[in-house]
Symmetry: C2
Subunit: 259 residues, 2 copies
């Protein structure tokens, strides 16, 4: 019973300055999340593009009739979703609405798995595998020779980087991004990139070695390009399949070796 010092007075005075808080029982459901919706609606109504300036915190505070604290909490939440971009000393701007929150969420969820790292990572890899198998089938027929040359060039650079002991990971990313560029679907490289980033982050957090045998990876990519050049849809899909089998094996091996 130590600590009854809270003893908040009952405001029996009640005559304090409370201008006229309208007793309107307008709870309005969580001011902060309401502000989030209003800011999003403001962006949509004014048709603001990514990079366009938003009202300052003070303006939002006055326009919406809430405190700056609530405005900042709402903006922080929108910032976490990459819907808003806050720059210190400069202002608040419309964000790119990228898949960054997906990356953060998946990374956290994967790292938070108590049982095994492999299970959660395998789920992500399986989705990437299914996606890329279907994707390679679609682009197999429509790839031009120039695009095939560009893909082969990326593999060449991978080989050079691998020989020099450099980062093959970035080029791997470029390869897959370039492969599906002709589809004109901007979401696809972002989604694949998100999965890829999650994989790299989890691998980094687990302390896995980045790529023990880049030769195998490069070989798989060469196989994919070769099949595509031959307009062999089934072969390309199988090559992609083999590629992922290798990634899964490497992940499983790494998790056994470390975890």
């Amino acid at each position: 019973m130590s600590g009854e010092r809270t003893m908040r007075r009952m405001s029996q005075e009640s005559g304090s300055r409370r201008p006229e808080r309208p007793p309107e029982r307008r709870p309005e459901r969580r001011v902060s999340s309401q502000i989030q919706r209003e800011v999003m609606q403001l962006i949509l109504d004014r048709k603001l593009r990514a990079g366009a300036p938003l009202p300052t915190e003070t303006e939002l505070m006055e326009d919406l009739g809430v405190s700056r604290n609530s405005v900042r909490e709402a903006l922080k939440a929108l910032q976490a979703l990459d819907i808003v971009d806050i720059r210190h000393g400069y202002g608040t701007y419309v964000g790119e609405a990228s898949l960054t929150p997906l990356v953060d969420g998946l990374t956290f969820r994967t790292l938070a798995r108590p049982d095994g790292d492999t299970a959660a990572l395998a789920e992500i890899l399986q989705i990437r595998e299914i996606l890329e198998e279907g994707l390679v089938r679609r682009v197999a027929a429509s790839l031009t020779d120039d695009e095939l040359d560009a893909l082969a060039a990326v593999v060449d650079r991978m080989e050079a980087a691998g020989r020099a002991g450099e980062s093959v990971a970035e080029l791997d990313r470029d390869f897959h991004e370039l492969l599906y560029a002709s589809l004109g679907n901007a979401l696809i490289p972002q989604l694949l990139g998100a999965f890829w980033t999650v994989f790299l982050r989890v691998a980094g957090a687990r302390g896995w070695t980045d790529a023990p045998t880049p030769e195998l990876t490069i070989r798989r990519h060469r196989d994919i390009v070769a099949a595509l050049r031959a307009r062999d849809v089934e072969g390309a899909q199988q090559a992609m399949s083999h590629h992922f089998r290798g990634i899964e094996a490497r992940a499983a091996q790494a998790s056994r070796g470390v975890g």
Copy 2:
């Protein structure tokens, strides 16, 4: 506009009273985002599962040596990512880390597209199509008769609901979720559900009619089940393909009719 002079006096005595220079306290880069990382790390270190209670705001404030405001902003951001679940008057808990942020982000990004609604929605639909084509190929060989019966039952319920003019959308969701349940990949239904939710929300915001012709949708689902029952992998994939062709056509029609 409204250039109110705030006229705050500038403490030109810069560096007047500062008891001690922070010698070892490094800049620390944005307290708020640092708190986000620390809270996430706390969850990982203590191996807390979803639903487990987190330290109260006051405790975090004291443990991390920051103000309660900063703690709340960090928690708000983590709440937006569904990494944390804040319950008024109850406490803060570890969240599910669901794909809710992806849904919010994709919905916003799609609605914010100035040119056309169809383009952004078509991207999402294409990804769903590619995913489900690959998925149906994988489950086609392993589905048991019981699972096929369950799928057929869902279609029956869809037909009953369609006749009664009820919500076919929910049952549609159930069908696809049930279809891929045997893969044991928890991420797949969540990802498909996320895309599905985005589609419904955008359709709702655009004022599209929910399902003008449920008969066609039901027929496509019957085709899928029939092909699966015959263990016809190619047929199942093509049926799924037709299904999505219908969805795309409906979306294009709705966007023309309204937008």
